[in-house]
Symmetry: C2
Subunit: 249 residues, 2 copies
């Protein structure tokens, strides 16, 4: 793959960075054709993971470079010893699997945490409705601890465009004014769990596309953090989904 000029990350760059040994290993294992190069600091040689990564790079014919100055230029932390540089990509969501749909997520941390929980609860397809926080921001990638490379994700300009493409997925819209409670809801594959913006929630205009559902919680608080809501919903839905699909991926 062609070499790139390495710059501090910004949204319009066509490539991005996975910082740290573990995310870099996951990246090479799952998306080898997207990897441009692996950068190390000289200190990386003290860690056994470095030999493992170099071995993988030889197998996959990926370039390796030791360059302290470059790593320090792009990494946020001085104890980042390995960086996987890779081209941005998208994948088509699997029409037979259950989806997570985030409408206008705005927070890097929440987005990363939700992706980590997705993999934990057997969801491998993420739809982002624009505008959305940049999934390729290295902060998001770090928060997922490698889980980003285990899922498929795709951006849509609006919710209707997604509905048109996946009309057979039953859409569960998580809202504070939801009519049915999560605990009592039945989940039949294929379905989509849909979550809104951190403070604004889901627009009312989407109500026509699915069933409004609420996570049963006390009256002592207005709402749950979006990453908590999504994780709880996935935990509950996963448990109620037919187990036959489980081992597909």
């Amino acid at each position: 793959m062609r070499d790139v000029r390495i710059k501090k990350y910004f949204k319009k760059l066509p490539y991005t960075y996975a910082f740290g040994f573990h995310p870099t290993i996951e990246l090479i294992r799952t998306k080898p054709t997207k990897v441009v190069k692996v950068l190390f600091k000289n200190e990386a040689n003290r860690f056994k993971e470095t030999e493992q990564i170099r071995h993988l790079c030889r197998q996959k014919r990926i370039k390796v470079e030791f360059n302290n100055k470059l790593v320090d230029k792009i990494a946020h932390k001085s104890n980042t010893y390995a960086v996987g540089i890779f081209q941005k990509y998208e994948d088509q969501p699997d029409p037979t699997r259950n989806h997570i749909v985030l409408v206008n997520p705005s927070d890097f941390g929440n987005l990363g945490t939700i992706i980590r929980s997705m993999v934990a609860f057997n969801f491998f397809d993420l739809i982002l409705i624009k505008p959305a926080a940049d999934i390729f921001n290295p902060m998001v990638i770090s928060t997922t601890t490698g889980a980003l490379f285990k899922i498929r994700f795709k951006h849509y300009n609006n919710f209707v465009q997604y509905v048109d493409e996946y009309e057979y997925h039953k859409k569960f819209l998580f809202r504070l004014d939801g009519e049915s409670k999560l605990r009592k809801t039945k989940f039949k594959t294929p379905y989509s769990l849909v979550f809104g913006h951190e403070t604004k929630g889901l627009p009312n205009i989407l109500n026509q596309y699915g069933e409004k559902i609420v996570i049963d919680h006390s009256k002592h608080i207005d709402s749950l953090n979006i990453a908590m809501s999504a994780s709880i919903a996935m935990y509950e839905a996963d448990n109620k989904t037919e187990k036959i699909l489980r081992e597909k991926k």
Copy 2:
């Protein structure tokens, strides 16, 4: 209450700050005797919440001051218009209620998010085993969106000291090597849900004090984020706890 010299927050200050209208209102409502003063920026007069806060302050005989320079000195965001200044405090956990115990939590965001979820799922007693992230850091208080003022919390130097004081609480230790699964666990009041450090988990030496339990998740990921684990556990445990205690608080 005596006036204080207002400085940018640091851990050893005997007082701290709730930033924003909603947390300030919660603070005055629930902890009026701890409030030293409420600070406003002049622009606060454009918002209806300011009149509500001033009314509460008159009722509770709390000082109010308009001072743009002071607010900008201590707030992180320029759109902070109200600051509740209050003395740090601790409360004795209720021996009849279920507890959340965090052993060496190190992340401000996770701590705040867990407190927000506690209130959502009817947990009002938090135990922090030192060393622990500073619960009074204004970043934690902001993340709880006012929930901090609805719970009791207390620090202990070590887990054994807590166990000695609350010996009748059954301790559920959340560990990746847990023997029983959350989904199958029965919860009988009073009990404690115990969570470890973000990366190190719970020390093995604590195993003798309780039952090891794990949140059922896929093999595709090493672990869940601690705030996710705690929220899911509270959601599940709350649902299985006898409802009679629910309305006590």
